[in-house]
């Protein structure tokens, strides 16, 4: 579906008809609405600042919300139109919305003084919205509750989809919502109506947030934390885990808690976040067998086992850890964190390079590249595509073995039985190829700047697949070119290319198109 739309739009853009003012107005109008939505979200950290009596952070957020709402309302005011957006408009709105949210969402972060430059704040804002988790923050252990809450909230917002949230909750009876829903890398509807789907995703996430915070907060109190900190950290960690983001309130990430139960619970949250929302819906509605039959959960299980085997073999080879508990808490934890696209760490970044050895790093890198389920908050290639490509490979082998006259029909279970078709395989392969190219492009830039191949590939894959595990390259002193490269990778990886291709085509048409 998504690939067909891209081809259709790009073929129209190939004709190079210069976009008209009408097109800009439609894009500006909906972009304005999304920006207003992002601005309104800043009311939550403002409430947190008031609750904890943090005056200067409150001023930062008042500045941030004022600028964001001004930009949003001005766009809305000057571009007001009754025209419905086409596919092209919808996808351009999505790609621009993510850039706008990054630039505007970074304002309060930069004002806090915890980021060395505005580029660094934008890096973290994109990392948060795209649920990556790579960070350039300084002095995190002294950050205000308000700013810390905002870092985690943007992951929650980005994980569910900025545009879909803004449009489905702030606009009634909006016919273009599906186009933007697809543009945000969600081409599956849980419910027949896309607005109902978006609302279901939000309700599910909020219910899990309440339960997750309660469970994790209670465990944290038992582990010795003060109640206020325990529940604040738990809410932040839940948002980061379920939305497979990877930020944490303290600089040591999950290592700060030194707690096995805490790690077990976050593993459960990460896996929940990596599951398809359709699968969550099936389980909620009583179809529990689906989890054992669904192609995505089966492939996820297999790839976790295979990549853990590689990682564990690497760790045993490098004699990094001894004992099953250590292999679980260090090897399996980083592995599942990478595979689900979360990026929580219970080791220091440099330990990957200094202690893990290449084989273990390869295991983690493959896991990061694969990602979780489609229609979830994870990044990467996704399990459904891996499953489809694998099925297609088996089908081709069958074709060679069986007589030419044999008719081969393959099916796979994804909520219902689906017949494997060539167009699905083509679409899956195209996205898979795009991701692999993106991973290696980032690695090439890293290598050009002097980093070793394995380190550069690891960090690039982590950025492009929206994971957030770091081997130490992501730090304040890294070259600005690499910061920008990773920002673009996080953006492209989160939106799964389509919206960005269309935006590029739009600019080409704008420059070279006929009137």
């Amino acid at each position: 579906m998504r690939i067909l739309v891209v081809f259709a739009i790009l073929s129209v853009l190939k004709m190079l008809i210069r976009p008209q003012v009408k097109d800009l107005k439609i894009i500006g109008y909906y972009l304005g609405k999304v920006i207003i939505g992002v601005g309104l979200f800043m009311l939550l950290p403002i409430a947190v600042c008031i609750f904890f009596k943090e005056i200067n952070p409150l001023m930062d957020f008042i500045q941030g919300i004022s600028i964001t709402l001004c930009v949003g309302f001005l766009l809305y005011y000057f571009c007001k139109t009754d025209d419905d957006p086409s596919w092209m408009h919808g996808l351009i709105v999505v790609s621009l919305s993510w850039l706008a949210a990054t630039v505007l969402g970074a304002i309060p972060m930069f004002l806090s003084g915890h980021w060395n430059s505005y580029l660094d704040a934008c890096f973290d804002a994109m990392s948060g919205f795209a649920t990556t988790g790579l960070t350039l923050v300084q002095g995190l252990d002294h950050m205000s509750y308000g700013h810390n809450f905002w870092r985690h909230l943007i992951m929650f917002l980005g994980g569910q989809g900025i545009v879909v949230f803004a449009l489905s909750f702030l606009v009634r009876g909006f016919s273009g919502a599906f186009k933007m829903y697809v543009g945000e890398a969600r081409d599956e509807r849980v419910l027949p109506n896309v607005i109902d789907t978006a609302r279901f995703i939000w309700i599910l996430s909020l219910v899990y947030l309440a339960l997750g915070t309660l469970v994790l907060g209670t465990v944290s109190i038992f582990e010795g934390m003060k109640p206020v900190n325990a529940y604040f950290h738990s809410a932040c960690i839940f948002m980061a885990a379920f939305d497979t983001g990877g930020f944490a309130p303290q600089s040591q990430n999950i290592l700060y808690y030194h707690s096995f139960p805490f790690e077990i619970i976050t593993v459960v949250f990460m896996i929940l976040g990596a599951l398809n929302f359709k699968l969550h819906y099936a389980i909620w509605t009583g179809n529990r067998k689906e989890i054992w039959r669904n192609i995505e959960s089966v492939i996820f299980f297999i790839t976790v086992m295979v990549t853990f085997f590689i990682t564990a073999a690497g760790l045993v080879q490098s004699q990094s850890y001894s004992g099953a508990v250590m292999l679980f808490r260090k090897g399996f934890y980083q592995l599942i964190s990478g595979h689900t696209g979360t990026g929580f760490q219970t080791i220091y970044a440099r330990q990957f390079i200094k202690e893990w050895g290449h084989l273990a790093l390869v295991g983690i890198t493959i896991a990061m590249g694969l990602g979780g389920a489609s229609c979830s908050t994870t990044g990467g290639i996704k399990m459904l595509r891996i499953g489809i490509v694998f099925k297609a490979l088996l089908q081709d082998i069958k074709r060679i073995i069986l007589p030419e006259s044999a008719v081969i029909i393959d099916k796979f279970q994804h909520i219902k039985q689906i017949v494997l078709e060539d167009k699905q395989v083509r679409s899956a392969l195209l996205i898979l190829l795009s991701y692999v190219v993106l991973y290696f492009l980032g690695a090439l830039v890293g290598m050009a700047l002097g980093y070793p191949f394995m380190d550069a590939l690891f960090e690039s894959t982590s950025a492009a697949a929206n994971v957030g595990l770091s081997c130490g390259i992501t730090e304040v002193s890294m070259p600005a070119v690499l910061k920008i490269t990773y920002i673009l990778q996080m953006w492209a990886g989160r939106l799964e290319f389509m919206s960005i291709f269309v935006l590029l085509g739009f600019f080409v048409a704008w420059v070279k198109g006929k009137r």
């Binding site: 001023m59 252990d141 010795g224 040591q252 850890y321 099953a324 080791i347 220091y348 330990q351």
Partner: protein, 173 residues
């Protein structure tokens, strides 16, 4: 599927346990040599194998929570670059008054203890088991004074936002 899941998990656990038996781990150092000079977190992380199981001195600011666990406690200490977990007797925590946060500068501690690259007692955490803890500087509450520049800019921007909203309302009429 469920049957295979349990079987594979069982086999993996079995394999991990047996693989672990073949691993070398330096927990057997009986009398660790003492390094008197204070070592930075970067030195420890970059040269973890070299310092593994040695008695070292580390100093930094107490941050976050003092997490008491039975007769012991976890205290995280930040030396300005990274924070490291210190496993210490609960008695040592009595002197800790301030822990680093937005509203406080934490006490500065000097810890002498055994450094573990991958602590066997704590699931492989990189940590220090404290033997001697000294408070070398007391922390303090950071009183927050309002930044007048921030306040003025915030007020101006709020005014601009109000103007934009008034424009909207006027246009609707």
């Amino acid at each position: 599927m469920r049957k295979y899941f349990y079987r594979i998990v069982f086999l993996l656990v079995l394999w991990c346990s047996s693989a672990a038996g073949g691993c070398a781990f330096g927990a057997g150092a009986l009398v660790p040599p003492v390094l008197a000079e204070s070592i930075t977190s970067t030195q420890l992380i970059e040269n973890a194998k070299q310092y593994d199981n040695q008695t070292i001195t580390f100093q930094g600011e107490v941050i976050g929570d003092v997490m008491k666990r039975g007769d012991f406690a976890w205290v995280n200490i930040n030396d300005g670059t990274n924070a490291l977990g210190i496993w210490m007797s609960k008695d040592f925590t009595k002197d800790i008054v301030y822990t680093g946060s937005y509203k406080a500068k934490g006490d500065i501690l000097e810890v002498e203890g055994i450094f573990h690259r991958a602590c066997p007692q704590h699931g492989g955490d990189m940590d220090i088991h404290a033997q001697v803890v000294k408070k070398i500087q007391s922390g303090q509450t950071v009183s927050e004074t309002i930044d007048s520049n921030k306040r003025n800019i915030a007020l101006i921007l709020l005014g601009v936002l109000c103007l934009v909203l008034i424009l909207q309302v006027l246009k609707k009429k």
